[in-house]
């Protein structure tokens, strides 16, 4: 679907969360490393309770959900302390984290505040043991330039990362405490982004600026993006937890499509004079002898409601792989129940006849839809009430909400947009005054600009304009320098191509190159520099390392079957040549061409083609000279 961004009036903003690579956590002296969950030394259980005022303005659905108290189970380690357990007051704000954040703020042309105050932001999903996230606003009023125009950077906050959710079982949610308290910067842009493409570029640019400090964490899960999207006639929707930069454009597009579709559905419903009946019927009797596993699992309890004039609406696709019915199902899921509707039935082992009887219970015509959930009465009723609220909302407007990014670029309902009044001062942490001298010092040591770096690369490594530009803007620029400084005999062009084009190609093939760490590249180039394999084999080695990141490069070379031993290569070529002496005598020097094909069949990807060609030429010459 081609989108006319100007016409729909897209306004999008980004919020980027990046872990900092500090020695200790933001409010305690624990290390900022993640631990194998098996290393957990102890666990404890907690509940959280928040008053209405602490939650700010929340909608009915969220309030319903809140009533349902969950148990949080926390796993602790030797590398976590009483601060993470919420058994001890936090220490003072980590100075190293403040310095890194200030550096990022200056790179984004922001204005740091003079005195930093740590706040408590209420979060009661258990991801913070204390029931709030500690966060401090460090700087405001920045900007970055993009080809499509200026994007204002409104805020940079320094905050603590949340505990990692590891399992959910019924009413209990398990979290791991190793991640809790790792410093993060949260960078928020104004809603100045006008196209999906621009959104992706802004995210990339921000990511690169962060990495240019050399003081942020890298690897999967160390950076997370949230996007807020609104279009004219639509609503402000925040999509959380995008881990993959490549998906950002896709997510923006899909959200626009979703909102446009919902507007269409709303108009269609109003035209049809559709309406919601609040009568919840017990349909269990219909399923006395059902063969549906879903229903049998729920003890045969089925409850339903009738949506007049909704036939066909629930089955309408609004995002890749998601129908309007999926939106409703998100609400039922909050109560731990699955949802089914007549637009998709018969299915799930429910028969045509059972569907007919369901419809008959409500005197439903073919214009109507019936929505059912399989669960015991109390839970079923609460789930259906939440679904009905969402349906009624759909006839009025698109709801403002927080959504969760899904791996295919679509999104699912998560919770209502949080209200603004959820923050209060963290009295356990004293404010920090930003020293003007310190700020000047940081300012004087900022990483170099792209332009400067590009010129330097041209001079130092003899790169042409295109390649110098490419690598100086690439996130891997410092890795490039490191490799070039360590292995001077490697051609700069090859290293640049590997770190840019090769990675891009692998990414297109769907290889998760994000899993590669600096050490993988350094080791690969080290082996290459010592002629352990031919440059043609670089992609094969990187692919191998993505799948087996713990394997060393020399082991990888062996496993793939790359030939490092040039004597063996020479022998192989000599054998082929010796078996074709007649052919060589017949063809003379022109035999090299066809023989090259035969040799390459054996050695492709394992030895540099040029090297093979040279050896082959020599051997052929020998045969001819020998007569």
């Amino acid at each position: 679907m081609e989108i006319d961004y100007h016409k729909i009036g897209l306004k999008a903003g980004l919020e980027i969360h990046q872990q900092l690579d500090t020695g200790t956590k933001l409010f305690c002296k624990c290390p900022t490393t993640l631990i194998d969950k098996k290393e957990s030394r102890f666990s404890f259980n907690r509940y959280l309770r928040a008053s209405k005022s602490e939650m700010g303005e929340v909608d009915e659905a969220a309030r319903e959900e809140e009533k349902y108290s969950r148990t949080f189970i926390y796993k602790g380690y030797d590398s976590t302390c009483l601060v993470e357990n919420d058994e001890e007051p936090p220490r003072e704000l980590n100075r190293e984290a403040i310095d890194i954040s200030l550096e990022v703020a200056l790179l984004l042309n922001m204005n740091p505040g003079d005195e930093i105050h740590t706040m408590r932001k209420i979060v009661i999903d258990g991801s913070n043991t204390c029931g709030f996230q500690r966060t401090a606003l460090l700087a405001t009023d920045g900007r970055i330039e993009t080809e499509e125009g200026l994007v204002r950077v409104d805020s940079l906050c320094l905050e603590e990362d949340a505990a990692q959710k590891i399992e959910t079982e019924g009413n209990a949610v398990g979290y791991s405490l190793d991640r809790l308290g790792i410093p993060l910067v949260e960078i928020g842009t104004a809603p100045d982004i006008r196209t999906a493409e621009q959104a992706r570029k802004v995210a990339e640019q921000l990511g690169m600026i962060l990495r240019s400090t050399g003081k942020v964490k890298r690897g999967l899960g160390t950076i997370r993006q949230d996007i807020n999207v609104s279009i004219e006639g639509g609503a402000r929707v925040e999509i959380k937890g995008v881990q993959n930069l490549r998906l950002i454009g896709e997510i923006v597009k899909n959200e626009i499509v979703r909102q446009l579709k919902l507007i269409e559905l709303k108009d269609a419903l109003n035209k049809r004079a559709a309406r919601v009946e609040h009568r919840i019927e017990d349909l269990s009797k219909i399923f006395d002898a059902t063969s549906s596993r879903v229903i049998k699992k729920a003890g045969g309890n089925v409850f339903g409601v009738c949506l007049r004039g909704f036939s066909g609406i629930l089955g309408t696709e609004i995002q890749p792989g998601r129908r309007f019915g999926s939106e409703l199902a998100d609400f039922a899921t909050k109560y731990g129940v699955g949802l089914m509707h007549t637009d998709e039935l018969p299915a799930y082992g429910i028969t045509e006849e059972e569907v007919e009887r369901m419809k008959r219970t409500f005197d439903a015509t073919e214009d109507d839809a019936v929505v059912v959930v399989a669960a015991e009465r109390e839970r079923a009723e609460e789930a259906l009430k939440a679904v009905l609220r969402r349906v009624e909302g759909a006839m009025r407007a698109i709801p403002e909400e927080t959504r969760r990014a899904l791996p295919n670029g679509s999104s699912a309902y998560m919770r209502p947009l949080p209200g603004a009044a959820r923050m209060y001062p963290e009295t356990d942490v004293p404010p920090v005054e930003i020293d003007e001298e310190r700020l000047k010092e940081i300012n004087s040591k900022l990483p170099e600009t792209f332009e400067h770096r590009k010129t330097r690369y041209k001079e130092k490594f003899g790169l042409n304009d295109e390649l110098a530009d490419k690598i100086s803007r690439n996130v891997n620029f410092s890795l490039f320098e490191r490799v070039m400084d360590s292995y001077e005999n490697l051609p700069a062009t090859l290293v640049v191509r590997t770190l840019t084009d090769t990675l891009a190609e692998l990414m297109q093939e769907g290889i998760e190159v994000e899993k590669l760490e600096d050490r993988h590249f350094v080791d690969t180039f080290e082996q290459l520099a010592s002629n352990a394999f031919a440059k043609e084999a670089i992609p094969a080695i990187l692919k191998f390392l993505v799948n087996q990141p713990e394997t060393s490069v020399d082991k990888a070379i062996e496993e793939i079957g790359l030939i490092a031993d040039m004597e063996a290569v020479e022998k192989l070529i000599a054998d082929i040549v010796n078996s074709k002496t007649d052919f060589i005598h017949a063809k003379g020097a022109r035999a090299v061409g066809p023989l090259m094909g035969v040799v390459m069949k054996e050695l492709r990807g394992k030895v540099d083609g040029k090297v093979i060609s040279k050896i082959l030429e020599e051997k052929v010459k020998e045969v001819l000279e020998d007569g």
Binding site: N45, R46, E87, G113, E115, T129, F132, L137, D141, S155
Partner: protein, 432 residues
């Protein structure tokens, strides 16, 4: 610069290298020399007044302090089948409210506010609240114990079927011991507090209070402390008021029984208060077994001195010169002070000032018969504090001296188990 006041909505224009930055928000209280404002985003930020142009854009008239109710109110709808529980507040908060505009946290003491924060309490009993003190527990004084004991006594006399005393945790052990000696009670008297402040969703205040209320409805008629039994929100321990000590600065399970086991345990359930159940581990005084009696008189001029290697014996003399009437020593090991101290101890006792020996080991029983120094102390007339906590021994000595100054009677009462303070039978007993 125009005078600004807390609560004003102001605009600050600040000159920077890259142009003018504008901040707008509400002026917050601060101790710093910078202007601290709450931005519309909810964040607070401080701005140096230099180079800044400040403009007041809105000034709200400050509302006077919200009504501070001083208690005595029953639940609006009294439930006949539920017992009457009196919540006496001394300053430890089990409920608090946050003003998001100013960020101020205000502890809540009125019955309504407590019930709003912890509605479960209203399902456990007919709650009536009363504020006795609003002080931090480190500011507690012996004279306040007397008043509190009298209030507890009055509440019981006026029909309360269970008493809950909310208390700051720092000195809760002392108050628990004091009430144990001063009030002979026919109903439960439960002290409760929180280690993590009530203004956080993870606070232990609500669970502790709910468990305390359950204990206050039980048939246990003793002064007890009910606090978290572990770091998890799973159960609370019921500690005997004379045998419990705060053993951690911040953890939820800071309160530990010393030289004893807890009386029992309260298994908590957040979703269903009906499922909260009590389990008892040892014998206890039953409801109605003892007559209500108040012994509120205290000799406040008692002190607790910790001995350390090389401690100057003149320390003892200083206290006596200051008019102290009773001394508890926290000695080393089985109950020792250096030989230098012995003449001072003997002289104090000769002058009618009882000296009680306890141990800084905290765990174990005093036994001065083992080593020479001990035997010399006994000879000097020291009163062995048995397996009493030093703090409990101090409070007990105040109570005993409130009743008698006769040295032999003091000695007898200090050795007598009055409120569970002397177990008498320790598992790792005195070695002969």
């Amino acid at each position: 610069m125009m005078e600004i006041r807390e609560g004003d909505r102001i605009r600050i224009k600040k000159e920077t290298d890259s142009g003018v930055v504008v901040y707008e928000g509400i002026v917050m209280p601060t101790a710093s020399r910078n202007i601290v404002i709450k931005l519309d985003s909810g964040y607070n930020i401080g701005i140096r007044p230099g180079n800044a142009e400040v403009e007041v854009i809105d000034r709200e008239e400050v509302l006077t302090d919200e009504k501070k109710e001083r208690g005595g109110v029953l639940n609006k709808t009294r439930k006949e089948d539920l017992p009457i529980l009196a919540i006496l507040s001394t300053g430890g908060t089990i409920a608090s409210k946050v003003d998001y505009r100013t960020g101020a946290v205000s502890p809540q003491f009125s019955t309504e506010d407590i019930l709003e924060a912890i509605p479960e309490l209203g399902e456990i009993g007919n709650i009536r609240g009363k504020v006795i003190y609003s002080i931090l527990s480190e500011n507690m004084r012996a004279e306040y114990w007397s008043k509190l004991a009298a209030e507890v006594y009055n509440e019981i006399k006026n029909g309360a079927e269970g008493i809950i005393v909310t208390h700051g945790t720092d000195t809760m052990g002392y108050t628990a011991a004091a009430l144990s000696f001063m009030v002979q009670t026919p109903v439960p008297v439960v002290l409760v507090g929180s280690q993590r402040s009530a203004d956080r969703p993870s606070s232990d205040a609500a669970m502790n209070a709910i468990c305390a209320a359950k204990v206050a409805c039980s048939d246990l008629a003793e002064v007890v402390v009910v606090m978290h039994g572990s770091t998890s929100d799973e159960f609370c321990f019921i500690h005997r008021g004379t045998k419990v000590r705060k053993m951690h600065t911040s953890a939820r399970d800071a309160f530990q029984p010393i030289n004893d086991i807890p009386i029992g345990k309260v298994y908590y359930d957040t979703n269903d208060i009906e499922k909260i159940r009590l389990e008892f581990f040892s014998a206890y005084m039953k409801r109605g077994e003892k007559e209500l009696e108040l012994r509120a008189k205290l000799e406040e001029k008692c002190c607790l001195i910790k001995f350390y290697p090389g401690a100057d014996p003149a320390i003892l003399e200083l206290f006596i010169a200051q008019g102290y009437k009773g001394i508890v020593l926290e000695g080393t090991g089985l109950g020792h002070v250096s030989a230098e101290w012995i003449p001072g101890v003997a002289s104090a006792i000769k002058r009618g000032i009882p000296v009680v020996m306890t141990s800084q080991c905290i765990y174990g029983t005093i036994c001065d018969r083992v080593y020479d120094t001990g035997r010399d102390l006994l000879h000097a007339g020291i009163i062995e504090g048995e397996d009493m906590l030093p703090e409990t021994a101090l409070v007990k000595l105040m109570c005993v001296l409130g009743q008698t100054t006769d040295m032999e009677e003091v000695r007898r009462l200090m050795h007598e188990n009055i409120a569970g303070e002397i177990k008498g039978r320790s598992m790792k007993g005195c070695i002969f």
